[in-house]
Symmetry: C2
């Protein structure tokens, strides 16, 4: 256990690309010098696109999606979100994804933070947003890769559903926590 | 938007391994038939080890770690946790990681759920645990790859620190949410 003022980052000594599946995925082996002085060879790092997740709120609760996701290979509760497009800023992506996936829009946005997907590998950064007073302004855009049901759930019901195992994806759990913990 | 009873999973038509860096990482291209009937070729899936995260509670608050993590490449607040070893069950891994990383032990464990790391790619499953009435029984195990400071923070301070940007990793945000949302 290091004293507080002795915590230091690892120092990169160079990296080697193992797989380039841009824009979806790049895999690297990276060599580091640890704070102890030891050299660590071939630590795996992953680059994936950054993404947004939106918690859309109105008087009746949270606008959620019920959808199949290939990561867990299950149907469960999701929130609007998706990859940030090249050159797009996170808030613009959040507004676009909310509208495309749910048909809702908001003029009251705030950030819930940004977090790295994997503490060891990297794997992209999620940008989390709260959208208050959302209004339905359109139909969701049809996308055969993202078929979904748009529903409204009171926050308490959403938390109960999460605890009952109806939320399967880590970013959705994080978004619910960020929005549901009392201030 | 599909009617509720029409949501269906994707059907796998086969997969091709792109990279085998076992036990840390495997990358696949997988072909699917979407519910619409369209064939989707070469969707990337990632296999990473499953892991545990522990929220250790005692009278004075949550036992947290301050540590450098290579994913975000930053020093911040972490919780005890790590990869599940081959053949190890998640609760055993949680008890081992809590003891190794913090020196604390508990006889009151409950599950906070299990969640897939990436909704699209998979990337392993995190198993989340609450450990109540933890007691310090040992010193943390020295590990030059995981130098850390063990601290206790009241849950409210931990939530404030998360909101202030001192938590950088998604699994830690999820764990804090799962433990901090009132029942």
């Amino acid at each position: 256990m290091a004293p507080a003022d002795e915590l230091k980052p690892w120092k990169s000594l160079g990296r080697f690309e193992l797989l380039d599946a841009s824009p979806w995925l790049r895999v690297w082996r990276e060599d580091f010098r640890l704070p102890s002085g030891t050299e660590l060879a071939g630590f795996y790092k992953l680059e994936l696109p950054d993404y947004v997740i939106v918690v859309p709120l109105h008087d009746e609760g949270v606008v959620v999606l019920r959808a199949y996701k290939p990561g867990p290979d299950r149907i469960g509760i999701q929130l609007p979100g998706g990859y940030i497009e090249p050159g797009e800023d996170p808030l613009t992506a959040a507004k676009r994804e909310l509208l495309e996936e749910s048909g809702y829009s908001s003029e009251d946005w705030s950030s819930l933070g940004r977090f790295t997907n994997d503490g060891n590998r990297g794997s992209g950064t999620g940008h989390f947003f709260l959208a208050r007073d959302v209004r339905k302004v359109a139909d969701p855009v049809d996308d055969e890769m993202e078929e979904s049901i748009v529903q409204t759930m009171p926050m308490g019901e959403l938390v109960d559903a999460m605890r009952a195992g109806d939320v399967h994806v880590l970013s959705i759990v994080a978004a619910i926590g960020l929005a549901a913990i009392p201030r």
